[in-house]
């Protein structure tokens, strides 16, 4: 590059720097009401027009550096399509007009594009870099101009995919660490609350046993259950499942003579009966006392485990790093305590950043350890776990019996109205034929044909009925082939259903049947409600668990709490201790996984 051209471009850069600064400040001003006041409809225009201007700079730097600087933006979104009811969907809302979904799509497209952020970063730094480098460079070394141009071209070109992925994963890691820290901070705050609640309990006991105000005693051993339950829930953060261990609430029973009975005591008034019921219920539950022990010890353990990293991050960030910025950049006063280590401000900054990094690095693991501690006292004892299991079994047995009774009633009705009625008709017509055979053979022949049709219809109905009870192909071939046959049979469906995996034996027949009907319902859901075009069913048996996954590319957004179908599947699987888990973000894909504990047997002779 000649000296003259360097000087010329340097001058141009100065001009561009002013223009970019104006662009940056302009878009900042235009975006402010959108971002701060939530007037989101003001956001897209400045971003879009800003892109047009940035493309100009892009072309300029491409020409200067001889590099290719393609526009890094994602392609604009497709216009929203109406669904079957003529409504337009965005996320979880349906709109009558396509205007809002179109707007939201454009907003997402503009704001979620990493290139938008990169553009803004470049606009912020470009004037600074130019002002810092170019005036000096113009005189000393014209190549600095080239350096600025190359840097700008690199900033404005699309990011290298590998680098972008690395950046994204780093971002996710940081996000996880920050989340873990926030959770740890919340747990520490709860620890303070626990101290207060424990003090209240102690006060209740003092009043109850000391002054004879016995009615506060049940309160003293149970008023903190909500907090314990919350902590059981939070144990999920550390991947530990803690069930609620409490015995079912004891309620007074009204006797025929009008008295209220609680265990072996009789009461005349409702108030006394329910007070004693509450006392009996809470006092005799071992979980109450374990809860109390936990309430006493947990503040110490929580602060001991999590206090240090929470404090390190908080102090590092707000006590050391932020004051440095405050004093260095904005010229505020500083004290030895804030923003300095041993009287040294730079050391304070370094220490602050180190504290934050160290704190964030360990909190994730400490939250897991803390969840195990929670489980130690708050999970059900062996006895309570058995009791809970019995309760669950009683419930699922009742469900199973109900379901079976309903099924038997349905079969009875189908047989009664269908095949049985048709066989009666066959019998009647045969009688008529017998009579007509000699007198009117032509009419008899016609009736024979009719009888045959009736018999065929009866057979067809029986076949459909059998298929609904237990598909023959399931008993003949097992789960994988039965699902394959089902896929071939769904002729009203345009979805492509593939089945992968195989089993080395057969699960017990009831388990097999439950899995089959669950899968067939999931496939029906995917194709009928989700509009799926491709469904994949994966079958696999490992470690005593039959696992079937149904993945579809439908619209997603399935929610077990809204549909009765998914609930029904869950209940039926529950009879066999099976579970259904569902991942269905709006937009798909939906992955339903059902797991059933069972042992496979090699195919054997049976008389079924």
């Amino acid at each position: 590059m000649t000296w003259f051209r360097g000087v010329y471009r340097g001058v141009v850069l100065l001009g561009v720097a002013v223009a970019v600064l104006a662009q940056f400040l302009g878009s900042l001003v235009l975006l402010l009401p959108g971002v701060l006041l939530g007037w989101v409809f003001l956001i897209p225009p400045p971003v879009r027009h800003g892109r047009r201007l940035t493309n100009r700079w892009r072309a300029m730097f491409a020409a200067w550096t001889g590099r290719e600087v393609p526009a890094p933006y994602q392609p604009p979104p497709a216009p929203p399509q109406p669904d079957g009811d003529g409504l337009y969907r965005h996320d979880t809302t349906l709109y009558k007009s396509p205007r809002f979904p179109r707007f939201f799509r454009r907003l997402d497209w503009l704001m979620k594009d990493p290139a938008t952020k990169r553009d803004l970063v470049w606009q912020l730094w470009f004037p600074v870099v130019v002002l810092a480098v170019v005036p000096v460079g113009l005189v000393v070394a014209p190549w600095t101009v080239r350096l600025v141009a190359t840097w700008s071209a690199w900033m404005l070109a699309p990011m290298d995919p590998a680098r972008a992925a690395r950046k994204a994963s780093r971002g996710a890691r940081t996000q996880r660490a920050l989340l873990a820290w926030a959770r740890a901070a919340l747990l520490v705050c709860f620890a303070a609350l626990e101290v207060v609640l424990f003090a209240i309990s102690m006060a209740c006991f003092a009043l109850g046993f000391g002054l004879g105000l016995v009615f506060v005693i049940p309160l003293g051993i149970s008023h903190y259950r909500w907090l314990a339950n919350l902590r059981r829930h939070f144990a999920g953060w550390g991947g530990v499942r803690v069930d609620r261990p409490y015995t079912p609430e004891l309620l007074p029973q009204r006797r025929p003579d009008g008295m209220l009975q609680v265990r072996n005591n009789l009461y005349k008034t409702e108030a006394m009966a329910s007070f004693n019921a509450r006392w009996q219920w809470t006092w005799h539950d071992i979980a109450s006392w374990r809860d109390l022990a936990w309430l006493c010890v947990d503040p110490l353990v929580t602060v001991g485990l999590l206090g240090l990293p929470v404090a390190a991050v908080a102090y590092g960030a707000f006590g050391l790093a932020l004051p440095w910025v405050w004093t260095q950049v904005f010229g505020a006063d500083w004290s030895a305590w804030y923003g300095a280590a041993d009287g040294n401000r730079t050391a304070g900054l370094v220490l602050g950043v180190a504290l934050v990094a160290a704190g964030l690095a360990v909190t994730g693991r400490l939250v897991t350890v803390h969840a195990r501690w929670t489980a130690l006292l708050l999970r059900p004892t062996r006895e309570a776990a058995l009791r809970l299991r019995v309760e669950q079994l009683t419930r699922s047995r009742a469900d199973a019996v109900d379901a079976q009774a309903a099924e038997v009633r349905r079969i009875e009705r189908d047989l009664h109205d269908g095949a049985q009625a048709r066989l009666i008709a066959v019998g009647l017509t045969l009688g008529a034929i017998e009579r007509l055979m000699d007198t009117d053979p032509a009419a008899a022949r016609k009736l024979v044909a009719q009888t045959r049709e009736t018999a065929e219809a009866a057979l067809r109905e029986l076949r459909d009925l059998v298929r609904g009870i237990h598909p023959p192909v399931l008993s003949e071939r097992g789960l994988a082939d039965a699902i394959r046959a089902l896929a071939l049979d769904l002729d009203d469906v345009t979805a492509n259903i593939t089945v992968t995996g195989r089993l080395d034996g057969r699960p017990p027949a009831p388990v097999e049947s439950a899995a089959y009907f669950a899968v067939s319902e999931l496939i029906a859901n995917a194709t009928r409600h989700g509009g799926a075009r491709a469904v994949t069913v994966g079958i696999d048996h490992r470690a005593g668990l039959l696992r079937v996954t149904v993945t579809d590319d439908g619209a997603g957004g399935a929610d077990p709490s809204r549909g009765t179908g998914l609930r029904g599947i869950e209940r039926r699987l529950g009879t066999f201790d099976g579970t259904l888990s569902l991942s269905s973000p709006p937009g798909g894909p939906t992955v339903a996984t059902l797991e059933l504990p069972c042992v496979l047997s090699s195919p054997k002779t049976s008389t079924s």
Binding site: S475, E476, D489, D491
Partner: protein, 213 residues
């Protein structure tokens, strides 16, 4: 014509033996389990076998498996499979070797003795006979190619896939032979299939095409 029959329900077995004998078939063996069926097929090498899908001792698809095993030993051994229910899956397995001489019918079809006997004869002669419900599902399955057929062509295709000859199709649909021929030529054109005069080859081509889609 020598027939091996496999059916585990005594009443049905007896009834079918009577039916076949009265139509001039020679029932050389009537068996009731999978292993004895395979042995009988390999020993007698019959002109046609009539086999129930579900047989003892396992009461699974033992009859089908025995028939498929026998056809692996004796390629092209004519087998007519009967079942209480039809599955596309089993139809595909029977058709997979592409040699023809297979049939797959619902047991209900024995109600109409003439049609049933006709089906047995067609299979024995190397033809392919599929139950109308199998064909109906195949033809109804929406695909890129069958979507372009007219309703009348669909009817012709269904009958053709069941293994009917041009004359039989014409009789059923009240069409002249030449009209049937025209429809068939149009179907083959639309499905991009090679034209063939041999009924069986024609059926196999149609089925292969439908299954592939």
């Amino acid at each position: 014509m020598r027939v091996v029959l496999a059916e585990d329900l005594y009443l049905l077995r007896d009834g079918m033996v009577l039916l076949l004998r009265s139509h001039g078939f020679d029932v050389v063996a009537a068996v009731d389990t999978g292993p004895t069926l395979l042995a009988a097929l390999l020993e007698h090498r019959p002109d046609v076998a009539v086999v129930d899908v579900r047989l003892p001792p396992s009461f699974t698809d033992e009859g089908l498996q025995a028939a498929l095993a026998a056809r692996r030993e004796v390629p092209g051994l004519p087998v007519l499979v009967l079942s209480q229910h039809v599955e596309q899956l089993y139809a595909r397995e029977l058709l997979a070797d592409g040699t023809g001489a297979v049939g797959y019918l619902l047991k209900d079809r024995v109600f109409n003795a003439d049609q049933f006997v006709d089906a047995v004869r067609r299979v024995a002669a190397g033809g392919t006979v599929m139950d109308p419900t199998v064909i109906a599902k195949l033809v109804a399955r929406p695909s890129a190619t069958t979507g372009t057929l007219t309703p009348r062509e669909r009817e012709v295709l269904t009958l053709m896939a069941e293994g009917r000859s041009n004359a039989a199709i014409g009789k059923q649909l009240f069409l002249s032979d030449s009209a049937v021929g025209k429809h068939i030529a149009s179907i083959f054109g639309k499905l991009d299939l090679p034209v063939s005069d041999d009924d069986n080859r024609r059926v196999l081509a149609v089925l292969a095409h439908l299954q592939g889609s």
